[in-house]
């Protein structure tokens, strides 16, 4: 029986001869086994690039109900599999050949590792007879990826392929998810063995032996929750992984606790919810970080106290007790010492905790935060007079208005990424796809392709800078070949903007290596058969966004925004979370009415 990643049966998509594969042991080649196992695991789409050592696998592809998306660079395949997983929650799959094909995956695998994304990469390897001889296109990819995968395999026998692949899927999606690589020698692909899907089932998932959320710890947590006057929930991506959105919401509502989100946790709690404060950390709004610094209790849900959200550790939330609910015991007390650690699945722990949770009145604390918010809140930037400049924040804000906050936005890395996090109000879980931990430029375009393939009925937007877009823009061809509809917004400021901002603030405006010449992106799109338009004025933003949305195919908008704009607020490196640089008064993106 075929199961997809979410555990639902997928038998309907198989015809009778295909279904027979899973009911009786059958002799298959290793290459056929690769696909048969994937179909059995519920895989429908893979992203890949062929080559010598993976050719047997490609040769067998046509016999199986799997869509193969040919990428233009293997890094793209890894990011697509990653975007596929982030948008859908299913395991993404990338396929590459040996040697350079495999090494090109590395950045994409590391991106998935740092953000705990379930992904399986299959690479071809030279024949087992010549392993270790520096044969043509031989590279030790299991050695290279050892520290950036959750686990990896070198498979040199046909009969080991199905068990390794099935275990790879189990590992990728269980516990704290992550990428797994399966390297298969060419002779293992060519030889044949008995394929027995059921017998190849992996040992059941063994929870980490150091998980602990016993009743004593639950009682301690409840006591802290009961007595807290100024609690804040810190919402991380673990909420999405654990599918605990409802439980976190119930906890917040029942106890009237405001919620601050990490970048990857932004879509775990609806932006429009009155208890949602917004994003915390280096570019979080001032009231969010002030609330955390003034809190007397932090309830961290599926987040890891990354340096980008804590500011200097010695001054972080000094008056707050901390409850850390987390599935990975290695994250407990790593950066921030916590008072109560509930180590396990977030959803299960919250379901234990919620019935015992007394209702509490949080109105005084919420009023305090509301006052801070009123003082600092960004004015509705749509109401600001048009001073002839085009600001990236306007662009993002207009995309948000036009899409109603329901599109999947896939960002690159840099200033535009932070503006997206600030000005696009996400209502739907998994509607923001962004590289947080590794901060991988070039991520957006391929990850958006993955997101669109995973969610064909969703509106998908790329928001990228002019720098990052050029790193992987070859994937425009993939979009055309696969006939995908993706809207692309390039936030073009002629600089590697975030680096320029750091040079402005911390390196005496020595703009070394950051001014950036770009091609005419609209012409580049045109060369691919993709329509596009330039936007230089604020008044043109909405009509361009609408044109893109109405256009049946992919559409690219090159937004020529203010060149030396910076992301505010900003916490300088080494400073405390509340010591942020606020928005300057002359900026149209002012914080208070008196500053207009």
């Amino acid at each position: 029986m075929a199961m997809d990643n979410s555990g639902k049966t997928n038998l309907n998509s198989l015809n009778s001869s295909e279904a027979a594969l899973y009911s009786q042991p059958t002799r298959l080649t290793g290459a056929e086994t690769v696909w048969a196992t994937m179909v059995g695991e519920g895989v429908r789409d893979v992203f890949g690039y062929p080559g010598g050592a993976i050719l047997p696998v490609y040769d067998a592809l046509r016999k199986f109900p799997i869509r193969h998306i040919l990428v233009r660079h293997e890094q793209g395949a890894a990011h697509m599999a990653d975007g596929y997983a982030r948008a859908s929650g299913r395991v993404g799959v990338a396929v590459a050949t040996s040697g350079p094909g495999a090494t090109n995956l590395v950045t994409g695998i590391a991106t998935a590792m740092l953000d705990s994304i379930p992904m399986v990469c299959v690479t071809g390897q030279v024949s087992s007879k010549v392993l270790g001889t520096d044969a043509f296109q031989e590279i030790d990819i299991t050695g290279i990826t050892l520290p950036i995968t959750k686990h990896n395999y070198l498979v040199s026998r046909t009969e080991d392929i199905a068990p390794a692949l099935r275990e790879a899927f189990r590992i990728a999606k269980s516990g704290r998810p992550g990428p797994v690589l399966v390297d298969i020698t060419k002779d293992a692909q060519q030889n044949s063995a008995i394929f027995d899907f059921a017998a190849a089932a992996p040992a059941p998932y063994r929870p980490h032996p150091m998980l602990s959320a016993d009743s004593a710890a639950i009682r301690e947590a409840l006591e802290l929750l009961r007595t807290a006057k100024r609690p804040v929930i810190l919402a991380g991506q673990g909420i999405l992984h654990s599918r605990a959105m409802e439980q976190v919401r119930a906890l917040a509502e029942r106890a009237q606790i405001p919620v601050a989100c990490t970048l990857l946790g932004l879509t775990a709690f609806p932006a429009s919810h009155p208890l949602n404060l917004g994003m915390m950390g280096m570019h979080g709004e001032s009231w969010v970080n002030h609330a955390i610094q003034q809190a007397d209790l932090l309830i961290a849900c599926g987040m890891r106290f990354d340096d980008r959200v804590t500011g200097s550790l010695s001054t972080y939330a000094q008056n707050a007790k901390k409850i850390h609910i987390e599935i990975d015991p290695a994250e407990i007390n790593k950066n921030v010492h916590v008072d109560v650690a509930l180590v396990g699945d977030l959803k299960e722990i919250l379901e234990t905790l919620l019935p015992l949770m007394p209702k509490r009145d949080g109105s005084a604390w919420l009023r305090t935060i509301s006052t801070m918010k009123g003082d600092a809140s960004v004015h509705d930037i749509q109401q600001l007079p048009d001073n002839g400049h085009l600001y990236a924040a306007h662009v993002i804000n207009d995309i948000w208005r036009e899409t109603g906050g329901d599109a999947i936005i896939v960002t690159d890395v840099g200033q535009h990424q932070m503006w997206e996090a600030q000005y696009y109000k996400h209502e739907q879980p998994r509607s923001l796809v962004t590289s947080g931990g590794l901060g991988t430029m070039g991520f957006a375009l391929p990850a958006a392709i993955g997101a669109k393939v995973a969610c064909p009925d969703k509106e998908v937007w790329v928001v990228a800078g002019d720098g990052g877009f050029q790193m992987t823009s070859a994937e425009l061809s993939t979009i055309v070949q696969e006939q995908l509809k993706i809207n692309i917004a390039i936030v073009n400021n002629g600089y590697l903007g975030m680096v320029r901002q750091w040079q402005e603030k911390f390196y005496d405006k020595n703009y070394e290596g950051t001014p950036l010449l770009s091609p005419d992106f609209v012409k580049l799109a045109d060369a691919h058969g993709i329509q596009g338009t330039h936007v230089r004025h604020r008044a043109e933003v909405i009509s361009a966004v609408e044109t893109a949305r109405q256009h049946p195919g992919t559409f690219l908008i090159d937004f020529h925004v203010e060149q030396e704009d910076s992301v505010y607020p900003m916490i300088p490196p080494g400073a405390a979370l509340h010591e942020m640089i606020r928005r300057p008064k002359q900026s149209p993106l002012v914080e208070t009415a008196t500053e207009i």
Binding site: K150, I171, P329, I332
Partner: protein, 198 residues
């Protein structure tokens, strides 16, 4: 402080490099490392001695457990345990100086396991400090140590403690005859009781 981690791992290609790579990634230097068989076929026992701040030990243990193929982890430094190391020393010795070395070996309960015209080989088992004590005496006595090989530490908790994971797997700990050293019966009686506090 010095931590002694014992990890039971599946006896598979590459697992040792996963374990050591973890310490490298955490920027923790491994002081000594031993790997060998256990009472269960297919399971290896690794003993890793590493210098790390006290509060990092739980995270190292948690990270070890995250590696596929790591079955059980223990930090034996926190418990009463027997810790042993074996060393072989080749010492320059003429016919004249041999007898002094024989005496020294007796004091340290070491054994002479090879004799050559210009040198002899000593085998010593015990705590690290005992081995280091012998080395120091040799150096102070102006003996030339031509070669030294130390096995690295092995550790086992005292008392009835057994591997939880192996118990859970239903494997009754058993000792295979082949696991005993072949020439064991010829050895002198083991009189290491005084080291047990190490």
């Amino acid at each position: 402080m010095l931590h002694t981690f014992v990890a039971l791992v599946e006896d598979k290609t590459g697992l040792l490099s996963r374990v050591t790579s973890l310490f490298r990634r955490l920027n923790v230097n491994i002081t000594s490392l031993t790997v060998g068989g256990t009472e269960t076929a297919g399971v290896s026992r690794t003993t890793i001695v590493a210098e790390a701040a006290d509060d990092r030990a739980p995270r190292i243990m948690a990270s070890l457990y995250k590696l596929e193929g790591v079955l059980e982890v223990d930090n034996v430094g926190r418990h009463s345990a027997v810790v042993r190391e074996l060393a072989l020393l080749k010492i320059a010795a003429s016919q004249k100086t041999r007898s002094d070395l024989f005496q020294l070996a007796e004091v340290f309960r070491a054994r002479i396991v090879d004799l050559a015209p210009e040198s002899l080989m000593m085998e010593i088992t015990g705590s690290a400090s005992k081995i280091e004590g012998l080395v120091q005496i040799l150096l102070e006595g102006n003996y030339r140590i031509l070669e030294m090989a130390r096995s690295g530490r092995m550790a086992m908790r005292r008392g009835h403690h057994t591997s939880r994971v192996l118990e859970a797997l239903g494997d009754t700990p058993r000792v295979e005859p082949t696991m005993l050293a072949g020439d064991r019966k010829h050895d002198a009686p083991d009189l290491m009781a005084e080291d047990d506090q190490a």
